[in-house]
């Protein structure tokens, strides 16, 4: 018995060190030619029209895409959320199904249907130019209630969730604020100016890249995860030591 408990404790104490690395990518503003729009239309009809309708006017299975802009397409297709893999509460992130050129063509086609937000200028995607402190104030007011105070994500109603932001590229962060994918509210340029969006991006980069002084973060999910950890591992250690302490020696 005491041996078993000792073995369990040994297993528990061999926790590994954990380091977090984040990668980031940069984006450039795009301009579209007529051939882009043509190519995009072909891709759209063969891949998207089943749900969004042949002219992107929407069907009962998918919303109208007229006026959503190139930014929405670049976000949804670029993060792999679209094409949708299955109907459900929320479209999950997966490997992008189209190449960068194809995404550009699709964006060009949808942008040609009606005016909407375009792909953000690279000037507003440079986290180093943003003010992380001001971004922190905006993030805590506008984003943290769903995405967690350091962007670790969180649960919403009925199976929906706010995703983790720490690995999301600057361009996709900007586009998400601009277009409000799925149930996320839209933060237009009157609500958060492009400079303020850059501040928010700068904050997200800063908090995801700063090493944690307290050691293992447990996903930075807050008191529930930490309480659960202490409940299982802390109490198990206390019980284990107590059992060993009072067990008779052979």
């Amino acid at each position: 018995m005491a041996l078993l408990v000792l073995l369990l404790m040994g297993l528990m104490l061999t926790g590994g060190a954990y380091a977090l690395f984040t990668t980031s990518s940069t984006a450039k503003a795009e301009e579209y030619s007529a051939s882009d729009i043509d190519g995009g239309k072909k891709l759209f009809v063969s891949n998207c029209a089943t749900c969004h309708g042949a002219g992107a006017q929407g069907t009962p299975n998918g919303p109208s895409l007229i006026g959503v802009g190139a930014s929405a397409v670049d976000f949804q297709v670029g993060t792999g959320r679209m094409p949708l893999q299955a109907s459900g509460p929320q479209a999950p992130v997966k490997k992008a199904q189209f190449s960068d050129d194809q995404i550009k063509q699709l964006s060009a086609y949808v942008a040609s249907l009606g005016p909407g937000p375009s792909i953000p200028d690279s000037e507003y995607l440079d986290a180093s130019k943003g003010d992380a402190a001001a971004g922190g104030g905006l993030f805590r007011t506008n984003c943290a209630m769903c995405h967690n105070v350091v962007g670790a994500g969180g649960a919403l109603t009925r199976g929906k969730y706010a995703p983790n932001l720490q690995q999301v590229s600057e361009k996709h962060l900007y586009e998400a604020m601009q277009t409000g994918p799925q149930n996320m509210p839209i933060f237009n340029d009157a609500n958060l100016t492009p400079e303020q969006k850059r501040d928010v991006i700068s904050y997200v980069r800063t908090v995801s890249e700063t090493p944690s002084p307290g050691g293992f973060k447990l996903g930075a999910l807050g008191p529930v995860a930490e309480g659960l950890f202490v409940w299982f591992f802390g109490l198990a250690a206390v019980i284990g030591i107590t059992v060993w302490l009072t067990a008779r020696s052979k």
């Binding site: 001001a134 922190g136 209630m145 109603t157 009925r158 409000g180 509210p185 839209i186 050691g215």
Partner: protein, 348 residues
């Protein structure tokens, strides 16, 4: 009071009750270290090894203090703390393990029982106590002098009154504080920047596009006497919903501007900020206890522990196109309290 050693299955002198016999103490089995000198030697060396490990931990603490200096970066703090912590843990934990092993394997393990003494004192002691009591009664004359006795009782009885009186300093009573916020006729709705920097930008109705959510504070909040307390009552979430999707009560028809609605952000359960807005389902979720409010139905509660709908702020557009409040909330914001329905909040 008596202490005796057992080395077999002898039991105390107890009567047999209900046919059960006192099984007594279990048979004493000698440990392997008691009978085999080789095992005893091994145990001794193990314990010594634990104490040696403790010394290694202590030395590691001292070495790592110099080996991992702080260079002002947070990473170096983390590294040094980890290394110092490992050293200290090994040093203290090993001493403890060594001592326990010593007790378990080498120190004698004979069971010893000690009987409880009886609770009452001896008759002699009791008689002395009664005598002392009676002596005090006679010498003080407390039974013979009722005036003094009664005055003493009265004095002691009212002595705690000052302590009750100073509870008044916890006040003043809240008065209308629970019923009023900074909102009033013509107060502009401003964007909340989270306090960094604390500028207040008023919001134009045309800026609030469908699907948008604005986090709102009343204009002038940062210049008020106590901005954070005011914000805790006056924080508002502004959303624009397709007017066709809104079910508006007739008396609230004029409280919105073309589908733009403003609701208190303070949960009616225990006052957390309700701000998880889903712009397709129009659900507002409170992150603390999952109370869910339906924005299309006057923020009525559709899930969770909240009991009242979120209070709605009546808004309109002023002559410059900015959104302004028509008046204060018509009911108290935040958690319910006993007097919540006793007063109509007044329009200032």
């Amino acid at each position: 009071m008596s202490s005796n050693q057992h080395s077999g299955s002898t039991a105390g002198e107890l009567e047999v009750v209900n046919g059960f016999e006192n099984p007594g103490l279990p048979e004493h089995k000698p440990r392997i270290t008691d009978v085999e000198p080789a095992a005893e030697k091994v145990a001794e060396r193990q314990i010594a090894a634990w104490f040696l490990l403790s010394m290694v931990g202590t030395i590691w603490f001292i070495v790592s203090y110099f080996l991992f200096p702080l260079d002002g970066q947070i990473g170096s703090v983390r590294m040094q703390n980890t290394m110092l912590g490992i050293g200290l843990t090994v040093a203290l934990f090993s001493i403890g393990i060594g001592i326990i092993l010593w007790a378990k394997t080498l120190i004698t393990d004979a069971e010893v029982s000690e009987d409880r003494h009886s609770i009452p004192g001896s008759e002699e002691d009791q008689a002395i106590a009664i005598e002392i009591f009676n002596q005090a009664k006679n010498e003080s004359g407390i039974a013979r002098r009722p005036l003094i006795r009664n005055m003493l009782i009265a004095a002691v009885a009212i002595a705690p009154l000052p302590a009750i009186l100073v509870l008044r300093d916890l006040g003043p009573l809240p008065g209308n504080k629970m019923f009023e916020t900074l909102w009033g006729p013509g107060v502009r709705l401003c964007k909340d920047t989270g306090g960094v920097p604390s500028v207040e930008t008023p919001i134009k109705a045309s800026d609030v596009t469908i699907g948008s959510a604005f986090h709102v504070i009343p204009e002038g909040m940062n210049k008020s006497e106590d901005p954070l307390n005011e914000k805790a009552k006056a924080a508002v979430l502004l959303m624009r919903v397709d007017p066709e999707q809104l079910n508006t009560k007739p008396e609230r028809e004029s409280w919105q501007v073309d589908g733009i609605v403003a609701y208190s952000k303070i949960c009616t359960h225990v006052g957390c900020p309700v701000a998880l807005y889903e712009h397709q389902t129009h659900h507002l979720l409170c992150p603390c206890h999952q109370s869910t409010f339906d924005v299309t139905n006057h923020c009525k509660v559709i899930f969770g522990p909240a009991k009242r709908p979120l209070p709605q702020l009546p808004i309109k557009v002023d002559s410059d196109g900015y959104l302004v409040a028509q008046r204060d909330f018509t009911e108290p914001v935040g958690p319910s309290f006993w007097e919540v329905h006793t007063r109509e909040t007044e329009s200032r």
